[in-house]
């Protein structure tokens, strides 16, 4: 699978994603500058974490209107998939590619910690290799990760099974105490209605080698690789 890792001024997880994809997974990967619009050579575009454009105005607001993000709808329409982690998730929401918004953490603190995540939807290109109800452990590192959506949007997300990850306890309990940022209904990651655009606040690229303290993030990458079919297209569901 051919990966493109987008670099905005202020992105910080680009090198981590590039390393995991290129070195750990041995897949072809290139950096994509935020001004590029031509994504024809890629199967998967990654929007990494960081503080794109300094997160001025709102987290991900300016990046959400950048040339590379404007090219994403067409990229997705011709069969590509998009993974946005942390700032990448904020950018996808700001761009309207995912519903809702990410707001300042309810605790007002920047949270850099390990979290447990309940996988609710394994019917996407990003999670097909994971058992329904499986609990993954991945770190978060953000100050603005409180997922917010209006009640009717939330209802649609549930109805269409778009909620992929929820913050939970080690044994899978979706509790208030397990919610690090005040996200509505403990939501940590969602997909678009097609299942081709995935946004999550946790960092799969920081849980990809034993030396990092865990490898659960790899399950997302392995799911993606398992979704690539012989003709070069990516299975949606």
């Amino acid at each position: 699978m051919r990966f493109g890792v987008v670099v905005f001024p202020g992105t910080w997880s680009d090198c981590d994603f590039h390393y995991v994809i290129g070195e750990v997974l041995q897949q072809p990967v290139k950096y994509v500058w935020h001004r590029d619009r031509n994504l024809a050579e890629f199967d998967c575009i990654v929007l990494p974490g960081g503080f794109s454009y300094g997160d001025y105005l709102r987290a991900g607001a300016i990046a959400g209107r950048s040339p590379v993000v404007e090219a994403l709808p067409e990229f997705v329409a011709r069969g590509g998939v998009v993974l946005g982690s942390c700032n990448g998730f904020q950018i996808l929401c700001e761009a309207g590619l995912l519903p809702g918004a990410l707001m300042r953490n309810e605790c007002l603190q920047y949270r850099c910690q390990s979290t447990h995540l309940l996988v609710e939807n394994t019917d996407t290109a990003f999670t097909r290799g994971i058992r329904p109800g499986q609990v993954l452990r991945m770190p978060i590192s953000h100050g603005e990760g409180k997922y917010h959506a209006e009640p009717h949007v939330l209802a649609t997300l549930k109805k269409q099974n778009q909620i992929v990850l929820r913050y939970c306890t080690e044994d899978g309990g979706v509790t208030r105490a397990a919610n690090p940022n005040g996200s509505v209904e403990n939501i940590a990651g969602i997909v678009n209605d097609e299942g081709t655009v995935f946004g999550l606040m946790p960092h799969p690229e920081r849980a990809a080698e034993t030396a990092m303290g865990g490898t659960d993030g790899l399950m997302i990458f392995h799911s993606l690789l398992g979704s690539l079919v012989e003709d070069g297209s990516v299975l949606k569901r």
């Binding site: 709102r58 809702g100 300042r104």
Partner: protein
């Protein structure tokens, strides 16, 4: 022509920043505070034929970038006195 945009969190959305500032002020001797919400002011200076045209352009800017329709409301003052 000068314009000013006031961007506020929608009513009903918890303003954690505002709550923290309120608590700080209460600690500084202002226990009478009941509510405090923090917003943003954007000041613009633009070329436009008249105030109506300017306001229309600024409104477009708000919808495209300055405000997030999911969480924020905005109001425009144009022209400024």
């Amino acid at each position: 022509m000068k314009a000013r945009v006031l961007i506020r969190l929608k009513r009903g959305i918890l303003d954690v920043q505002g709550s923290a500032v309120l608590r700080a002020l209460a600690g500084l001797g202002y226990p009478e505070l009941r509510e405090l919400r923090v917003g943003k002011v954007v000041e613009l200076d633009l070329d436009a034929a008249d105030p109506t045209a300017a306001a229309a352009r600024v409104e477009e800017m708000c919808r495209k970038l300055l405000a997030n329709p999911v969480t924020e409301d905005f109001s425009i003052e144009c022209p400024l006195p």
